[in-house]
């Protein structure tokens, strides 16, 4: 699958128009290599700069944070006027700290970023609490601002922002969608023709054995309990939510696993698998096979030689250096090898 060729809109820089002369290409490639070598050298040097910057960031950030915390704690017992003024000062400082974080983001590690974001959130929460407690009636904030923004809002804007309470009935989902729902204790199969390039949905299945031959565009699974689900190569992502005590075997481009417990995943993933709010999820390389698997890999566009099954990111476990306790690799001797029904 050539992604570039499909970019029909000819978006800006995308797409190579016309044929380059071979010589031109060679020259370009040579130049690129030289530049790449240079870049690598620079990257090496800038890495140590980045580390220094990270340290500078952390210490500055922590000092600022401590001074805001001090401001906030000075509010206890103070009278109304003092609290108002102190809170205002704290808010301005918090905004500056936010700005500092925004400006520093480029060189921070995920861990540092997350830590700083958490700290900011805490500051905002505790100043909101103090405000609530000390100044219960008067609404604090930079309200005056909304005047200026009125000017740029939609012309028909005489009513306030949209109400949030409307419930919208969405067209009956499952009937038109390819997949299975609300089944217990059965074996379910779909053929390559049925599956071909479809978006497949499996919901509310208990104690079922599911075989999806062929290559779907995407696969969603929700509320799966004690099932065995095997699927051919999925060209984009697989999205799993609320799955337990099950065995899955899937090739895909991305795997996104949520709220899942005690489930074994035999995986082929060409980019990454992530878990969020999961525990007891274990992984092994995809090992199911069926006669047209190779053709289906071709249909899906997935690279059969690239499998990152063991590189799982836990979005709830960001401590640097310590592996997530929420997933494991299935030991080789425990891996399932016989997939007969």
């Amino acid at each position: 699958m050539d992604a570039k060729a499909e970019c029909t809109q000819g978006i800006g820089v995308a797409g190579e128009s016309g044929a380059f002369k071979i010589q031109e290409r060679l020259q370009k490639r040579h130049q690129e290599r030289a530049e790449e070598a240079e870049r690598r050298k620079e990257a090496k040097e800038s890495r140590s700069v980045a580390e220094e910057k990270g340290e500078y960031f952390s210490s500055t950030f922590d000092t600022e944070r401590a001074s805001i915390e001090e401001l906030l704690s000075s509010c206890t017992g103070a009278d109304r006027a003092v609290v108002t003024q102190t809170l205002e000062e704290a808010t301005v400082k918090t905004l500056q700290l936010q700005k500092f974080l925004n400006d520093s983001m480029l060189f921070l590690t995920q861990y540092e970023l997350r830590r700083a974001q958490d700290a900011l959130q805490k500051l905002q929460t505790s100043s909101a609490e103090i405000r609530e407690e000390a100044l219960p009636k008067k609404k604090f904030a930079f309200r005056a601002r909304s005047k200026a923004t009125d000017k740029v809002s939609a012309p028909e804007s005489d009513t306030p922002a949209a109400s949030v309470s409307t419930k919208v009935a969405v067209a009956p989902a499952v009937s038109v969608q390819c997949g299975f729902s609300n089944m217990n204790n059965v074996c379910l199969t779909k053929t390559a023709e049925e599956i071909h390039k479809q978006d497949v949905l499996l919901t509310h299945l208990t104690n079922c054995k599911v075989r999806l031959f062929g290559s779907p565009s995407t696969l969603h699974m929700k509320h799966i309990d004690s099932c065995e689900i095997l699927c051919g190569p999925v060209s984009s992502s697989v999205f799993i939510d609320h799955c337990r005590d099950s065995t899955l075997a899937i090739p895909c481009q991305q795997l996104r696993t949520h709220n899942t417990q005690d489930t074994r995943v035999y995986l082929h993933v060409t980019s990454r698998a992530i878990i969020e709010d999961c525990h007891g999820v274990s992984f092994a390389p995809f090992s199911w096979s069926y006669p047209t698997l190779k053709e289906d890999f071709i249909v899906s566009g997935l690279d059969q030689n690239r499998n990152n099954w063991s590189q799982v990111d836990d979005f709830h476990w960001l401590a640097a250096g310590t592996p997530s306790p929420n997933w494991t690799v299935i030991p080789e001797e425990d891996r399932k090898t016989n997939w007969e029904l």
Binding site: I11, V13, S146, S163, Q254, D313, F315
Partner: protein, 184 residues
């Protein structure tokens, strides 16, 4: 000369815009960003944190922020609101199960003071999927017609084929430009 005029003048010189891409995880935000920039979209991993791309388009310098949409990351979205000119809300048009979640997150976002004044572009993405809802259905499901606080527009697109991405971004730029770069 008022402050607003000065700000406008400054911005005009830079011709720089800050766009924030948000939406539920798996909607296709990162894929849209990379496709728009002409990069390979087959190797994209789920976003932990954010991506920033700076690119030139139509004489503007666009700073596009693509922020992860996982549940655990949504509370951080607010950290990115400051000085946003345009908000791109990306929807997986085939994900019917989470449309309600999607509607709630969007309407909560539109109440944010720091986003007041930002132009809203809704991308009804993944139109290439056979089970995708049409952009009209998405418009209804997200109750877009009730929005009074922002300029908005919905466009059906596919990040995989690239279809309509340009149309969406062009509309967004025109709307923002008319708002902040007009001389008085």
């Amino acid at each position: 000369m008022g402050l607003l005029t000065i700000l406008k003048k400054m911005k005009q010189k830079e011709r720089e815009m800050r766009l924030l891409m948000l939406g539920l995880d798996n909607a296709g935000k990162t894929t849209i960003l990379k496709k728009f920039n002409g990069e390979d979209v087959s190797t994209i991993s789920p976003t932990l944190g954010f991506n920033i791309k700076t690119l030139e388009h139509k004489g503007f310098k666009l700073n596009i922020w693509d922020v992860g949409g996982q549940k655990s990351l949504r509370s951080y979205w607010r950290n990115y609101f400051e000085s946003t000119d345009g908000l791109v809300w990306v929807v997986d048009s085939a994900d019917r199960l989470r449309l309600e979640d999607c509607r709630q997150e969007l309407s909560a976002l539109l109440l944010e003071e720091r986003l007041a004044g930002a132009t809203l572009l809704v991308f009804a993405n993944k139109q290439d999927l056979p089970g995708a809802l049409s952009k009209e259905q998405i418009q209804e499901a997200l109750a877009l017609d009730e929005i009074r606080s922002h300029h908005w527009c919905i466009i059906g697109c596919s990040a995989v084929t690239g279809n309509n991405l340009l149309a969406g971004v062009d509309w967004l730029l025109d709307d923002i430009a008319a708002r902040i770069f007009t001389t008085d």
